[in-house]
Symmetry: D2
């Protein structure tokens, strides 16, 4: 999570959301823009979506070109050990796939970077995961005879956040890369979510680079193949959400929920009465709001707003009074600990041929 989270803009960190937003706003076609390929599959209870963005589509989607893989699973929120093991295995496989797409060889050296602030629990995902990464570079160097087949040199650092170090996080990472010359980088970061649904339930892998501690478009701070000359694989997990998003999501659910009831009543085959809804002992009927469409009837002017207009309005209301809190589920301590473990287990399996994703130590608290 960057230092600038509180100033985050409408931009989403997830390619899957950027693509879905595009499709929504271009209703007539209901298609991905040209230059964007989308493929989906399920492995047991995990949904996997591959989004490939061509340079030609960068601007349309507001996302850098590259391969994006999204895993969706409720393993953490359900505190389900077996589901977490499966998620770690699948994560390891998908990470390995991304390494192959970037021509990373089994003996190439890796620097794993845990972004975030270890003193702020929802932002401590990266630092916590680092504690479980199997680090081997120093063994290859000092005691090569002790390293078995099936391992590669791996280092792991937690650069901290600028508010705590005073230093640009990208400077710390670049300084270490220049001194230690890894063949590729894996970076973990906690993200702000654009939907309640995704908190601790989505993992995005991508090879398009990272912008530690930066806002949008801060080219100078980008760490990517373009700027470093080596592949940079980013692993992002939404762990916080703001009050605007919670309200926006809820209003959408409200429209869907009421629309469903409304429709049924509106269906002449089911009922002859005009469409209406009941709240406790009161009934609001279509007839009370003549000439309005369903969304307007339910939510008035607000109901007739486009999605981004609604979000903007809510932000205008909450921000000046200091109520656009960035929040996290009450059970944050356990969720983050479990997710850090799943990430580390998946990364260890992808980096070391010898390690299996589900054999790692602890999948519950």
């Amino acid at each position: 999570m960057s230092e600038n989270d509180l100033n985050y803009t409408i931009r989403t960190d997830l390619a899957i959301e950027a693509r879905n937003a595009y499709v929504e706003e271009n209703e007539e076609t209901q298609q991905s823009p040209s230059g964007v390929e989308v493929e989906e599959k399920s492995v047991e209870d995990i949904n996997i979506t591959y989004v490939t963005i061509d340079p030609s589509a960068e601007e349309k989607l507001g996302k850098k070109a590259g391969n994006y893989t999204t895993l969706e699973s409720k393993a953490i929120r359900h505190q389900d050990t077996e589901m977490q093991k499966r998620l770690a295995v699948v994560l390891g496989e998908e990470l390995a796939r991304l390494q192959q797409l970037n021509n990373i060889q089994p003996d190439q050296t890796c620097l794993v970077v845990g972004l975030g602030n270890h003193n702020v629990t929802p932002d401590a995902l990266g630092p916590l995961a680092m504690e479980k990464i199997m680090v081997t570079t120093h063994l290859f160097k000092l005691h090569p005879e002790t390293v078995a087949e099936g391992y590669r040199p791996v280092s792991a650092i937690t650069p901290g956040v600028m508010g705590v170090t005073g230093v640009e996080t990208s400077d710390i990472i670049m300084g270490i890369i220049e001194k230690t010359k890894p063949d590729f980088v894996i970076a973990i970061d906690a993200l702000a979510s654009r939907s309640i649904d995704r908190i601790n339930a989505t993992i995005q892998l991508s090879d398009s680079g990272i912008h530690p501690g930066s806002g949008v478009g801060n080219k100078r701070r980008e760490l990517s193949k373009d700027t470093l000359g080596i592949p940079v694989i980013a692993i992002g997990v939404p762990t916080v959400v703001d009050a605007v998003t919670i309200t926006n999501d809820t209003i959408d659910y409200l429209l869907k929920h009421m629309g469903r009831e409304w429709k049924e009543k509106d269906d002449p085959s089911k009922s002859l009465t005009p469409a209406s809804m009941t709240f406790g002992d009161r009934t609001l009927s279509e007839e009370d709001m003549p000439g309005l469409d369903q969304r307007q009837a339910i939510l008035g002017m607000v109901g007739s707003l486009e999605s981004h207009e609604k979000r903007k309005l809510i932000e205008e209301v909450l921000s000046p009074i200091g109520h656009n809190l960035m929040v996290t589920p009450k059970e944050v301590d356990g969720f983050i600990k479990d997710m850090a473990h799943v990430l580390a287990a998946g990364i260890n399996a992808a980096l070391h041929e010898r390690v299996k994703g589900d054999e790692s130590q602890s999948f519950t608290r």
Copy 2:
């Protein structure tokens, strides 16, 4: 925070909210019910409200009879050391006042109880505060010569939560009270908030007892003067809020915000055009929604709901899909640590004449 928080009902833990809700629902009178006295004052940037509930008013307000003192301050959320010191001093004074109202003498022994789960940060307020309480009972017993004038015997326990111990929290507390026979009890608990506004910004003191880990009306579990024969002073701080509350609050802000703009435009002295609102490049006008009042025009049917109807509707929408998360601000680690410190400093000052509320050690991180 009780184990049953997630099942919380419309009931509020704060007397000030219960009283305000009553006043709102009885608009015609705009008065507190008979049997309820309310007094307010400000000490610098801290608002203090005294609500005294007579047994005759218990039922009307859904709150037990007793003295309730509410302190409101942004000291924690602003991370302001000086404000936090002042808050601790005022808390100490108000706690001392409540002790006097209950005829508690300077040499009487106190058991301080830190309710909550130390592994769940927003629920760890009680356990964290216990670490800063000045505990002296054992010194009075084992080394009385080392205790200076101006101290009383104070013990402090953290009974845990039933989900972790397996034991009813009230059984643990009652067992210890029976063995150690304190003259009075002070209990700290984290609460679920009924408003975004109050999270980590309100402290309620009361002498009406506590119901650790229970839902409403579980008489058997009540720890109070009635059941224990000794005064029980409760200190409650809202630290979490649910998605229903966030949405409900935001919709209310929305109505107020849009209503304000609307009115101005509706004011014939200001404008001749019909009332309208502008979103980006679109304008929604009163004329599009003929025959609707302002709230309906803005928010349709939802706008015409009573407050408790609206809340109930949102709950109906979010709960089945598992989205009524209980959340806490992202900065929860720092906020809870600071609040625990303020509480402990205030309690230490109220319990030991020798101790001043602002001299305690750390008011920042």
Copy 3:
């Protein structure tokens, strides 16, 4: 570890040590006193010693009558996951054996007590283990339909230490026992070691009761079958050692080490020269110290002291200058965490038929 650790006397907490000390001091017989039975066995790399003390032998050994089982293993100090799993399994079996000896039935309810101070790492063993105990009492009570066959009602509490709560720890435990009426108690405590060797490498199980936070012979504070009417099984692990012990042990090793070299040289079949030892470029010979036995030659007067005299002398030297520190290995954080996990895994397996000792979640960090 009790609040009084620093005042600990020559008394050892381990029956095996008391018995060995007795044998040593009664050299002529080299036997356990009558009323004490000792049996030993090994399970892979774990040494198990059973010491049964009859009431008739209580005084001779300075230990209460009862069954004592000692497990010795380097699993923690070697940070060896597989050894730790085996240790947890064996611990579970031996704990089950002790339950049988005390006629504890599979459906009887258990209160597990984690003694110690969670803020002092080497004393946090009990509290840390509690976090991994499978607690079920509340499920049997509130949702009996959710509890599978093979589980019993188990509760777990961490009463704290008197220096932090102000309350006698035994009062807290007795208060909770009276309220919750368990059928038996298991209590975990960190001990002061009488030997460097045993730190984090010995686990003692016994059914003779505990004395939380007390010194020797404080009958009033004893929690045992005698005082409570229900079986009390204690699990003790040495986690700290004092400077006196370290020095005393080292001087003994020194005598053994030098004695060995000495003897060889002293052996006429091996050498004709007088016994001597070499330090760097100097040689100290038997002839420099005429008329002294080997121990005296090596260590002078100190060498001729009895074991308890030597210990007392060292204590007299270190205590007045404040150097009899109670110390713990530098790696204490990891050791205590691992040991807590082994204890919890063994206890869970002994309490719940359904649970296996090695299936528990995490055996490494």
Copy 4:
């Protein structure tokens, strides 16, 4: 504390010890070697020793040339808030003095480095202190208008240890220095002590550079003015000690203690009886050990060893059997937390003219 601590050699990290050892081994002169200047003073209960080592004396003392300041105080071990405040103030002053000696100007930028492993409490001193350092570099850069007079740009990093990161710690630090170009460096490290006495009771400041994670004489890894071109001020605190040192110290105390008693009895003016000592009901007399000097009589051959011979012997005894533990006082959690706070308060005062050493937030737990 370096990754290689366990392999530490006879070398001491403290200039004051190196100098004292030199003086001891050159008994005849009882003087510092030429090229070494020593000055002492006391400020209330704090002893301050200045050792200045000229390049000509480097080899004799086995310490790099430079200015070394040692503060000795029991503030931490006595858990005395007021003493800790005074220690922080004096530390700030002495650090400022060392900055002046190195021509560091009030507006020059500083990088503070907290060496050590935050997961191993006695090695977490550096990382813990970093959490209290007032970091300002990013404010000067992003919001210069918010920075008051009397502050300088300060950054703070915790590079971790090689066993955890896989990377040479010096590479991390050098990489960050090259990217951020500070004008000087302050580095905090926990040391292994050569004496029980000094644990958490000595702070050494020096301007001769650091060797993070290295053993002796690893020139390549040195971070100093020589290698970096900017001043490097090191702050070292002994926090652990090994069993060899504890035993060696104790044997020395034993000799002193017994020698004192012996002497008195040996003094013909006081007694006509031969020298003797009493242990319980036994008396060991000079006559039992004819022809031995006092040290031999007391401790035999071991008593006649030189200090470094004795240490070597003990090491030979303990190391093969795995008993040369590196240990730390049982109260390590509190001691390290307090010391980290004292260091941070002193550093903040030395770096920012506006900050006073004793005004910092928390001097007790």
